[in-house]
């Protein structure tokens, strides 16, 4: 049912995979591919080819090959026979594990951030949150994804644990394709959910500003639970 957002997907595809022209081709290709996965430009089970990705990014095959190898290593892509590659298929156990790990690691990052965040960063968060709200108001989905990512990674980075942030980033890459399936042609459903969820952002800012670690952890975990519940109603695990 949730697989009807084809037009939407192609739009996300085109804008998420912007052409690469830098000298650090491999790093750029890797960054672009990660970004595309995180934003749900690809869906679970989608088969891709190195040549197809190279064309979409406007780069040669070599840097894509390296980037793909790195994504294979973290399980964001899977190798199939005959050199084909795919995004891992939808599976309930995988979804459950991802959200459990996100709860642990993002909860911990928020708790640490509450201890370590400074007033300047709180100001930044408030500003970014205003951008998130504005993009939700405009129903601008691309901007919403960008600002939402900026909001949470500002929080996670305030944990001052680079390792924790890198693990969470991997989990976001692995989670991204699920969002693709949850998109419907009628984005009102999505935006209604998003607007309710944004209350959690405000509570998170309040917990961080108050230096309340346990509250920050709980708010993030509640937010993730609501996201999982929303996605579960839209993901058809039995079809996998």
């Amino acid at each position: 049912m949730a697989r009807t957002g084809r037009t939407r997907v192609e739009m996300a595809d085109a804008s998420a995979l912007s052409p690469v022209d830098s000298s650090k081709l491999h790093e750029r290709a890797y960054a672009e591919l990660r970004r595309a996965l995180m934003r749900g430009a690809l869906k679970p089970g989608q088969v891709v080819t190195i040549r197809g990705l190279a064309e979409a990014l406007g780069t040669s095959v070599m840097p894509i090959r390296d980037a793909v190898r790195q994504l294979l290593a973290v399980g964001a892509l899977e190798a199939l026979p005959r050199r084909a590659i795919r995004v891992p298929a939808l599976a309930e156990t995988r979804f459950g594990e991802l959200w459990a790990l996100r709860g642990i690691l993002e909860g911990e990052a928020c708790a640490l951030a509450a201890e370590r965040i400074g007033p300047a960063e709180i100001k930044v968060l408030e500003k970014v949150h205003a951008e998130v709200l504005a993009s939700a108001e405009r129903q601008d989905f691309e901007a919403l994804l960008t600002e939402n990512h900026r909001f949470f990674f500002t929080v996670f980075q305030a944990s001052r644990s680079e390792l924790l942030v890198s693990f969470i980033e991997t989990l976001w890459i692995l989670s991204g394709p699920h969002y693709n399936l949850a998109l419907t042609p009628d984005l009102r459903v999505v935006f209604n959910f998003v607007r309710r969820g944004l209350k959690n952002h405000e509570q998170l800012i309040a917990a961080l500003a108050a230096g309340d670690s346990e509250m920050a952890r709980l708010v993030r975990q509640k937010d993730l639970l609501e996201l999982a519940t929303f996605l579960r109603t839209r993901l058809d695990f039995t079809a996998a």
Partner: protein, 235 residues
């Protein structure tokens, strides 16, 4: 179509990567040691090309540290980064152990028990290489039983970063570390927790096992001590 040559090349690449990774995990290299293409190639009896790629990937996994205009080196951990790794280890390995207690099969438990038997023997042998291998094998037998394939590479990444430094602290604390320690049998506690399907006890045992060495005299001092020449064993 895959050519025979391509398959052979991919196999060599993977083998070289696995071998280097294992060497780091088993602490064959010291913190700060520079892993040149030649060193890697010589150790593995291969040309430099596959080593270059393996080093690149190990840097991406944080097992090695990139250096400007130089070959990468084994990370040197200061107290802050070591504490960060230890905290994450407790969190992630505690979770894996708890999950293993919930869902381990009898076959898993048998494998874990066998790994524990070898670990006990390795502890008595006072051979640090054997001790480290057996310790790694035991821990990963438990984590495999948790069947959390997304969690496993994160734990591996932490071990790759921690292993060389752990080896330094073991060497500094002396051979008594390997003596069979009566009251500190965390692996035994973990095996019992798995048998009793007690997730909380399994988690507690793993956390004690991770933190106990850091509470021994000499552990933190070893981080700042100059490296002991000739203490290195490769093989």
């Amino acid at each position: 179509m895959l050519t025979v040559k391509q398959v052979a090349r991919d196999t060599i690449k993977l083998r070289v990567y696995d071998a280097l990774r294992r060497a780091i995990l088993e602490a064959r290299f010291r913190p700060g040691e520079v892993i040149t293409l030649r060193l890697g190639g010589e150790a593995l009896g291969t040309s430099m090309m596959p080593v270059r790629e393996a080093l690149h990937r190990l840097v991406a996994e944080r097992a090695l540290e990139a250096q400007p205009n130089r070959s990468p080196r084994v990370p040197v951990l200061d107290e802050t980064s070591l504490r960060e790794i230890l905290e994450l280890r407790c969190m992630l390995e505690g979770r894996a152990a708890a999950q293993a207690a919930r869902i381990a099969t009898p076959a898993d438990r048998e494998e874990i028990a066998a790994a524990q038997t070898e670990f006990a023997a390795a502890s008595r042998s006072a051979d640090p290489n054997r001790y480290l291998c057996a310790n790694t094998a035991f821990h990963f037998a438990v984590y495999q039983a948790a069947r959390m394939p997304r969690l496993l590479p994160m734990i591996e990444s932490l071990w790759l970063q921690y292993a060389p430094t752990f080896r330094v602290t073991l060497d500094a604390m002396g051979p008594q570390v390997f003596a069979p320690d009566g009251g500190l049998d965390h692996h035994g506690e973990l095996v019992r927790a798995l048998e009793e399907k007690d997730p909380d006890a399994a988690q507690a045992a793993i956390v004690r096992d991770i933190l106990e060495p850091t509470q021994r005299p000499g552990f933190w001092e070893a981080l700042t001590a100059p490296p002991r020449r000739g203490a290195r064993r490769t093989g």
